[in-house]
């Protein structure tokens, strides 16, 4: 196994990969850019930029109108991207692939769609490590229905407390909504196990995959989740588009989310009927070029050796972990056994915002703050963290630069 991953690492030519991402070769504050904020949004390869450019230059028109050639081309590109996403997720049918603006809208759509099933006293199980986007939509629905949002607690290392999960999961649980990967901690949650246990009790399962898809490919049929949501922009595609996967039977049973064009079959003042899936949930003209861009991002990833990419990412995280001791007072927040390359940390005596400002001076981009996960900040009793989040196009040298930058900041405060 280790031989295989070494071989894969050797096979990955990071410098060649970086040339696919033109934005990376620039100077910031007079220093070469070191982009370590991939968890917030990842950069885009030329393949994505070209696909969107070509779409607008050669085939743009509104989709699903069928009256002329351009419209046919646009529709073919748009629906082709949907098929690409279906393949990426291994969904059974493109009827189960709904375009949204992103993960946040996808979760809001599900929460609203499930609202009619929720009653006073029902419970929606989330975890303490959720992004606000997987807490607040449920709270809003809970407010309307009398249901309650209940958090699963964590271990100090930042893993789900499985005993707590099993205690919380019960007769009242209607929905389990959980992150595949934590945006702050990098923890990969054992979602297959959680889904199996929830399904045994008839609980609807919703997986927030926003932080998972940049690092690995989820198989929704193998996971057997009811819903899976992700955003394009974190997986090297354009902003403004995301995906909700949902099992067909559940989507059929759900009411539409927004009303307008495209989502209807027939409108009259007496009775309006809904279009078939997936269009029932896609009111208005969709983000066509963005869908095409996302399709191109998935195609781009498919052309790469994903095993080699994952090995390279593991190597980045391992190097970062090995360097922690070189920065006195540095502490990693989130030390789960299974992690994507995300490093949240604090440094004694330094506010995260100071760390962010002074790394920026050195051309190094990280995220600081509460990361839209305030309940998690409360758990660790910190106002926020500094977070370096890596992508496969980052280099070991950039990891070294991050730590050299941190040591420099410490000297500044000494």
């Amino acid at each position: 196994m280790s031989n295989l991953s070494e071989a894969s690492t050797a096979a990955l030519d990071v410098e060649a990969l970086r040339r696919d991402f033109p934005i990376l070769s620039q100077q910031v504050n007079g220093k070469p850019l070191v982009y370590l904020d991939n968890g917030a949004s990842a950069q885009k390869p030329v393949a994505v930029l070209d696909a969107m450019d070509r779409y607008y230059r050669e085939m743009h028109a509104n989709v699903h109108r069928g009256a002329h050639t351009l419209g046919d081309r646009a529709t073919a590109a748009f629906e082709g991207a949907r098929e690409t996403v279906r393949r990426f997720l291994n969904a059974a049918s493109t009827r189960e692939i709904i375009w949204t603006r992103g993960t946040t809208e996808a979760i809001n759509l599900v929460a609203n769609g499930l609202a009619p099933r929720l009653r006073e006293g029902d419970e929606i199980l989330v975890s303490r490590m959720e992004h606000h986007a997987n807490i607040v939509p449920w709270q809003m629905v809970a407010e309307r229905t009398g249901a309650r949002v209940v958090p699963i607690e964590l271990t100090a290392e930042g893993e789900l407390d499985m005993d707590a999960f099993r205690q919380r999961l019960g007769d009242r649980t209607r929905v389990l909504a959980i992150a595949h990967v934590s945006n702050v901690l990098g923890t990969i949650n054992p979602v297959a196990e959680l889904i199996a246990e929830a399904r045994a009790l008839g609980v609807v399962t919703v997986i927030d995959g926003a932080q998972a898809v940049p690092h690995f490919r989820p198989d929704v049929q193998a996971l057997d989740c009811d819903f899976y949501a992700f955003s394009s922009h974190k997986m090297f595609g354009p902003t403004g588009i995301g995906v909700l996967y949902g099992k067909e039977a559940l989507l059929e049973a759900m009411p539409p989310y927004q009303g307008g064009g495209e989502m209807i079959e027939r409108v009259s003042f007496e009775r309006t009927t809904w279009n078939q899936l997936p269009y029932k949930f896609e009111a208005g003209t969709p983000a066509i070029a963005e869908a095409v861009g996302l399709g191109a991002a998935i195609d781009y990833l498919d052309r790469l050796d994903r095993t080699a990419l994952a090995a390279a990412e593991d190597a980045l995280l391992a190097r970062a972990n090995a360097l922690v001791d070189t920065v006195p007072g540095m502490e990693i927040i989130g030390t789960a056994r299974r992690k994507v390359p995300v490093l949240s940390f604090k440094i004694a005596g330094l506010h995260p915002s100071d760390i962010g400002t002074l790394l920026d001076q050195q051309g190094i981009a990280i995220r600081t703050g509460h990361h839209c996960a305030m309940p998690l900040m409360d758990f660790y009793a910190v106002p926020g963290t500094a977070r370096a989040s890596f992508a496969f196009y980052n280099t070991l040298d950039e990891v070294e630069q991050l730590f050299a930058g941190l040591r420099k900041i410490q000297r500044l405060f000494a």
């Binding site: 506010h351 995260p352 400002t357 002074l358 106002p383 420099k408 405060f413």
Partner: protein
């Protein structure tokens, strides 16, 4: 004189440490490290912030760090005194620069001072630009609101 009023008058920023001092110092700072070391040092000149003033009304929202701001108006001399606190050192330093420019002025003078121009001059504009969520902009707006309200009262 209350303890709090004392703290306002003991603030060296804008009185002992003048805007000219800061501008002169910046002239001699070559690289970003020296500049930020100086900003951090300026932040250390902020007088202790009274604990009893850490209440919601004095909290400046929109900052990654916790920022507190209080004021005291000396009627007889027509001077507005300000105290700021933050748990982030760079924000403290930038707040100190704001105080050097604005503390102890009359509300009228304060409102005619162009902080954006000053930050541009110091090559720190990015910190106060509306795109940065560090609360500097919110801090300056709060101070200007206080001065404007004082002028209206007169």
């Amino acid at each position: 004189m209350t303890v709090q009023t004392r703290a306002f008058l003991d603030n060296p920023l804008g009185t002992e440490t003048t805007l000219k001092d800061v501008l002169d110092a910046f002239e001699f700072l070559d690289d970003w490290e020296e500049r930020y070391a100086y900003i951090i040092d300026l932040g250390k000149q902020l007088p202790p912030f009274p604990d009893e003033a850490r209440v919601e009304d004095n909290y400046v929202h929109g900052c990654q760090s916790q920022v507190w701001l209080i004021h005291h108006y000396d009627d007889a001399r027509d001077r507005l005194y300000l105290l700021i606190d933050s748990d982030a050192m760079i924000v403290r330093g930038l707040a100190a620069i704001i105080l050097v420019a604005l503390n102890g002025k009359s509300p009228r003078d304060l409102l005619t001072t162009d902080i954006d121009e000053l930050f541009e001059q110091l090559d720190l504009f990015r910190h106060i630009s509306p795109t940065r969520g560090n609360g500097l902009r919110a801090m300056v707006s709060r101070i200007r609101d206080i001065a404007a309200a004082q002028l209206e009262r007169d």
